[in-house]
Structures are given as C-alpha cells and as structure tokens.
Symmetry: C2
C-alpha cells in the first residue's frame, strides 16, 4: 500500500471512475448534495465559491490521510469544513423546518468494526457530525434523537451554539417562500464524505439540515445506518444524498454493499443498479458517493447535478458540480 503507484483514472460525464490500473494508498470522496443544480441557474461567482469550499474540504481530509491518519478522522474533519460553510444544507447552512427552526441529522460509520453513531433533530450542536462520532465512541448507542442528543453533546464537551448561529439569509428566504407556497421546499443539500486510509480502513459520514419546511420530527435517511450511511471494510463506504424517504425504503447505502458482497458486483455496477435503475424507476431523486476496499470510487446521481469531488494519494484532485 505504501508503494507509489500511479492511478490512471478517467471520469465519465456522471463522475464515475471508469479505468483504474493501480490502487491508491488513500482516497477521499465528498458530496455537497444532489438536486436540480443547473449551470444556467448558477453565477460564475457562486460556482467558484462552491468549488473552492469543496477543495478546502478535500484538502482538510487528505492532509490527515497523507499523514497516516484514519479514514474516520478524515471524513469527520472533511464534513466539519462543509458544516461550517453557509453554502451547504448542513450545520451553519441548515435549512429551516416548518416551525422556523433548524433541526439537523448526522451519522458516521467505521468500516473496520461496523461501529456507528448518529444524531437526529439536534438544534444546538455546531458540528452535528462530531456528535454522531461521540455517540459511536462514547455511548453504548447508535442513534440519539432531539433534546437527548443535544444534552449528550453538551456533556461530551462539544461546541454548542445559540440558534442564531444557524441563521443564514438565503435559507430564511427559502423558508419564507415555501411558507407562502411560492415554491417547493429544497429536498437536497446534504453533505457527505467517504474515505479509504493507508491502513485499508473505510469510513463514511453524512450530515444534513433535512428538507426546507419539513414537518416537526421528520427524520430522513442521513442519520439512518444502512440508508444514508454505511461502511464495511469488506465491501465499501457509502454516503447518500437525495429524497430521503426513497433512500430509507430502499435501504440504499447497505444495498450497494449487499450487491457487492452477495452478488459479486463491482462498486460501480452496484451503485448504478441502485441509483440509476432501482431509485430512478420510482422517482427517487438523488445520488451517492462511495469508495471500495481497493480504492475504486463512484459519484453517481440521477439528478441534474451533484456537488462532488475526490482527492487521492497520487495528488489527483477534482471537483465537479454538473453532469
């Protein structure tokens, strides 16, 4: 794994790696949400902002991987960069619920031992992904919800912020428009990261603010192990984004792993089977990023666009937004 191998990768229009001759020592893949993201609706300035933030997140995670750090640390710190940005629907940039508050979900999974942690409906934690990780590492539980999760995060010494921290003009205006029934609520914008480290360990993490104007208490796929997030060193690490209910009913993240494990499909074939066939057939909008135990990866989606990118031990880095 420590040999300096050369990765030869070609990206297809939907961002999948088609040809890869050698395995990278490490790889990190991220997404910032899939949806009706069209070039014609995007200013150059906005596009540059997104690309810069995706690059910053990739660099934060890859620095850890390059120094021999764990995939778990890499996905955690990568997600924190995205959570701290107002651009994405997670952490700082979380959308508003029907009640005009921010309720966030996050989850993380360690492919080396199938340990996992998640929180749902948290309101005060600056970085929900750190709370998910604390649930995994410092509690006997997998999923904590609502005030119980906020209290746990406080007890764990995580950074707690006032509700005002999560106020962003853009999300508030979006909330007001949905409230006035002037437009559909945003269903997308979740952030995610998957990584393979130099020890061969896989990890996956996902964080979201959910849907604009979502019903009080609505839980989507992001905090659900097997739906929005899954990692197993024997197969792959997956983070999903899209219309959560479809991803929950189809157990999307674990289904990709199961297709590899039980049916012998490659990562790309397994991901395409789930995202481009199964979900597309029933109107389940969204996409996933995934990396397998050999460092192959895919970033596949059935929507107009998905904020996404990857960086490998070979120094390759690419960020993409549209199809």
């Amino acid at each position: 794994m420590f040999l300096y191998l050369i990765v030869v990768g070609l990206l297809s229009c939907d961002g999948q790696m088609l040809v890869k001759d050698k395995n990278p020592d490490f790889i990190l893949v991220i997404h910032g949400g899939a949806g009706t993201i069209l070039k014609e609706n995007m200013t150059d300035e906005k596009e540059q902002q997104y690309e810069a933030k995706l690059r910053e997140a990739l660099k934060a995670g890859s620095k850890i991987l390059k120094n021999g750090g764990s995939s778990l640390d890499a996905v955690t710190e990568t997600i924190c960069v995205l959570e701290d940005s107002p651009l994405f629907n997670a952490g700082k940039g979380a959308v508003f619920t029907a009640e005009g508050v921010n309720e966030m979900d996050a989850s993380i999974m360690d492919g080396s031992d199938l340990n996992a942690g998640a929180v749902t409906g948290v309101r005060s934690i600056k970085n929900p992904i750190r709370a998910a990780r604390a649930v995994m590492e410092n509690s006997p539980h997998v999923l904590l919800s609502g005030a119980g999760a906020d209290t746990f995060a406080l007890q764990q010494g995580l950074t707690i912020v006032e509700p005002e921290y999560f106020f962003t003009k853009r999300r508030w205006e979006s909330y007001q428009k949905v409230k006035a029934k002037k437009e559909q609520g945003e269903k997308h914008g979740t952030v995610g990261a998957v990584a393979l480290d130099m020890q061969g360990n896989l990890a996956a993490a996902t964080s979201t603010g959910g849907m604009t104007y979502k019903m009080k208490g609505r839980v989507g796929d992001s905090p659900i192990i097997g739906a929005g997030t899954y990692a197993d060193n024997n197969t792959c690490a997956v983070s999903a984004t899209g219309h959560g209910e479809f991803f929950m009913r189809n157990v999307v993240a674990y289904d990709i792993s199961a297709l590899m494990k039980y049916k012998g499909l490659s990562l790309t074939d397994a991901a395409d089977e789930v995202i481009q066939k199964k979900l597309k057939a029933i109107g389940g909008d969204g996409g996933i990023i995934a990396v397998d135990k050999d460092g192959n990866f895919t970033m596949t989606f059935n929507t107009a666009g998905m904020y996404r990118g990857f960086i490998s031990s070979e120094g390759e880095m690419e960020v993409l937004i549209f199809k």
Copy 2:
C-alpha cells in the same frame, strides 16, 4: 392459492419450520420479545398468561386474513392486541426511560410497494403501531420522531392517552431496580408480527418501549426500516427483537431479504446466517420472525427464549416461549 392445501410442518427446537410440503393460503407469525426467558424463572400462571395473549393476538390477525383481508391490516391489529397488554414491552406495558417516562417506537412496512412508516420516542399514543401506519399512509414521510410524531397522531384522530395509562407496577419496579443499579436494564420485549395474505402480499410490523432506563432520545432498531422491520413481496417480511444497536449496525431485517434476493438463500438459511452466525459472533442477542412469499416461515433466536407463535390458513396454531 385458494385450494385447500395441507401444510405439513415440523418445528425444530428453535421453532423453525423444517418440512413444508404445501403452501398455506395465509400465515401470520408473531413475537413478544427475545431474551433470558427461562422456564425456571417463570410461574405456570405467568406462562399461561403469555400463551393466552399470544393466542389472542394470533386469532385477531388470522380472522382478518381468513376473511380475505390484507397482511397490513392483520399485522396492525395483531400488534394492537400485544400493545394493549401489560405483559409485553410495547404500548401499555412499555418500560421506563432514565427520566421515568415511557417513550415508544414502532414501524410497519408493506411488501407490495415498499411503502413504510415509523415513529420514535412517542409518549401519548395508545397504539404506536397505528401512528406508524398513519405516517406511511397519510404523510409523505417514513419516520417521525418525538413531539412531532405525537402531534401528527393527534391530528390523525388516533387515540391519545395520559402518561398514567402506560404505568404498570412491574415496569416501574424494574425501573427502580435499574436506577438503584441493582440489576441490568431489560433490553428486550419488543413485539412484532409478519404475515402473508391470500393476495400474496407480505407485511411486517414491530413495536417497542425500548430498553429500561434508556438514555433520553435513544432510538433502537424497532423504528428503523431495514434494521427492525422489512417487507418485500419478492423475498420476505421480517420483524426483529433484541439488542437494538447490533441490529442497526448489521441492518438485520434487510440483510435477510438481501441474502435471499442476491445469494439465493432460503428464508431459513438467510435468517440463520444473520441471527445464529453473524450476530451471535459479536454478542448481538435477539431473534427474528419472518415469512417468505411462499408461506415458509422461521422464528429463530440466539437467546434463551422468545415469546412466539404462528397460525396458518390450515388452522394450525402454535405458541412457544422457551428453546
């Protein structure tokens, strides 16, 4: 399906159907929780109470199936009988959280269209399984949590009760003992039902009070589609009971379906692979009930006992508690 076929079934010591020559028109299988349920700790009176209630639940569900009703209705009404009894850790008999309140979870899934609904952390709904079904049928969501779920149930016209309704002396004493650190909290006692109806549709439902003295906001596997509950007409319907965190990390209910779908395993082999091998190897206590599209069923567990039973269109009915 309407022919009067004869089911020849032999039950092994762990309650699995080993030989079955013909397919039943319908079948209903239930559980009332798995755990350290030992004959020597049970009075004859208590054993009779459990057996009588399991039979009552089976009769309520099978009456619906016999009249050509849906598996969805059958599992709903079956679960309601168990939720209304103080014997099981669901509804009326729900255990107490660390804060001394009752927070319940439930989920339901329709194998004909992979639709699903669930609630977690509800406090005021007499029959949480009806709330899960309302989420499935009357909301665009799959999972609602906490006060949002209670409010939704009220709006749906479901029966709402005062907190006192869920008080039972037995569960309160158990709570006090755990609080005084005199004993371990009960991790088990969930109820579940799976059914195949005369139209060939599968359904699964699960309901629980969770773990005694559970941390505020702790969500187990019962409300998680793919972990505690799963149904797909192409494979099987599954309801799980046990140490929830292990069932979530291993995506137990969906994994059984995936082993059938992708690896071609029989229902019994798939269930044994997950419960007796995978989970047993990592100390994941518990069991599942499941029925496949042909009416084969299994009730397998890796604990000392599991309250369980089945009834088929052939008039066969059996309830079991110990190994």
